[in-house]
Amino acid sequence: MKKLGVILLYAMLILVAGITLAPLFWMVSASFMPAGQSSTFPPPFLPRQFTLEHYASLFTRLNLARYLFNSAFLALSVTGISLVINSMAGYAFAKYRFRGRDPLFKLLIASMVIPAQVTMLPLFLMLNKMGVINTYVGVIIPGMASIFGIFLIRQFALSIPDSLIEAARMDGASDFRIYRSLILPLCKPVLITLSIFTFMGTWNDFLWPLIVMTDDSMYTLPVALANLSLEHVQDTELMMAGSVMTILPVLLLFVVLQKYYISGIMTSGLKE
């Protein structure tokens, strides 16, 4: 009886894993099929002939290298810039005393309830006046600082003992030096977590780059893919290759760094 239960449990686990992975597996599989093969009946799960032509045409016929560069450049820039800005602010909120600190922090947290969509129309007009629509700067600007990131770093920095900072100060270290050589190394785990969140968030983002980037050559992968998929409705295999190229980088990043990613979700989920 007990054994049957265990078998049933595993059957369920494997079934659910099958359902979650099947679309991703099929995407990879179809991307290797010759054009048109996925649109036959019964739908083949594995390629009958194996081809890389779709990957080749993504780079030759379409502008994939450019989209890849745009996505990578933007995700890396936003991650780098926001990490510096958020970590400085998070540290200041955690370890400095100044008038209005707590009300200000509470106000920031409360404003997280405002959805980004609310800001998009004026932000677009503003960036348009600044002449940065259809530029990298236009996508980077709203990602430079994030309240969630400041919150995450502050929570972590709170656990750093004051005595450590005091000792460094006694040794004559400047404020900036303490931040740079003491706080940042100690905050490494949360900085890694936040980097993954930010990188993936920027890479996967759709609505804002869709609004800001107006030229094909400036598209990020999701924007380009959405556009192409509406034009190339019939080219299933080509679109699957494009989807693989879009998903693969973030999926790999997750698999390598999942420890940090998962722990980040767990702490941010429980702290609320």
Partner: protein
């Protein structure tokens, strides 16, 4: 500790960026929602006029707005609870004591969360293909006749819900797992000494102990679902017959396709009002759970 000047220097970049590119736009959007800002104003701001609450009253008379609101509520009322139930079930499965390779299953369930929404929406459009799609093929093996998932106004929203749940249940599952790990082991030991069965343990210990987690997950899921956009944009463009038109999609179309930015800003504030209401509800309920 430390000088105030240093604190100000550390804070300045963040506060400046948030102030200029978040706080000001929020207030500007509020003002915008009371103007007739349109494509002509885009060229010259002098054409902008304040029109009071006209955008909001126009909204109330716009059948497209009601359609979008209804669709969005359908999406979150059906999809939200479904996602919560599926993720709780998945968490219980994965955390079950006898299961080995927990990490492997967890990673597999979590994989869709990190994927790019636009890319998986493209994939699912083919999964839902009426003739060559995997889903209809799998269903045909069970004797179900083909369904035109994205082409039938009755099925398009359920199809999007199914995909959205597939995409995000892993995220909620992780939070549930954290919640499960926080339940003291002794509670179960005490209960089993008292002769409580597995089912009884689940209903008297696991579920009540998970109540705050469940509430948290329900609200964040619904807030996220309220911002439905990329799925209909890629899979249906809001069709067929506007059956998958969402609030944010309508906002995007009004604001950035037709440049009716005043009207679009009013839509944004309707979205905000709903999300604010959801958040207030959450903190209210959480306080009640905490005191009882």
């Amino acid at each position: 500790m430390g000088s105030k000047r240093a604190a100000m220097i550390f804070l300045a970049p963040a506060l400046l960026a948030i102030g200029v590119f978040f706080v000001i736009p929020v207030f500007a959007a509020f003002l915008l929602s009371f103007t007739d800002f349109d494509i002509y104003s885009l060229g010259n701001f002098q054409y902008v006029r304040f029109i009071g609450v006209k955008n909001y009253s126009q909204l109330l008379g716009d059948p497209l707005f009601w359609k979008a609101l209804k669709n969005t509520l359908y999406f979150l009322v059906a999809g939200g609870p479904l996602s919560v139930v599926v993720s709780l079930a998945a968490a219980l499965l994965v955390q079950s004591r006898v299961v080995r390779f927990k990490g492997l299953f967890r990673t597999a369930y979590f994989a869709p969360v990190v994927t790019t929404l636009v890319a998986v929406a493209v994939v699912w459009r083919f999964v839902y293909h009426p003739r060559f799609g995997m889903l209809n093929y799998a269903l045909s093996l069970l004797g179900v006749s083909p369904i035109d998932w994205l082409g039938d106004p009755h099925w398009a929203m359920p199809a999007i819900i199914l995909m959205a749940v597939w995409k995000n249940f892993g995220y909620n599952m992780i939070i549930f797992i954290a919640g499960l790990q926080n339940i003291p082991e002794e509670l179960y030991e005490a209960a089993s000494i008292d002769g409580a069965g597995k089912v009884q343990q689940f209903t008297t210990i696991t579920l009540p102990m998970l109540a705050p987690t469940t509430l948290f997950i329900s609200i964040i899921t619904m807030i996220g679902y309220f911002q439905l956009f990329a799925e209909p944009y890629v899979m249906t463009q809001g069709g067929p017959l506007n059956s998958t038109l969402s609030i944010v999609l309508l906002m995007y179309q009004q604001g950035f396709r037709w440049w009716n930015m005043g009207y679009s800003a009013a839509l944004a504030f309707v979205l905000f009002a709903f999300i604010l209401a959801g958040s207030l509800l959450q903190s209210r309920l959480q306080k009640r759970l905490g005191t009882s």
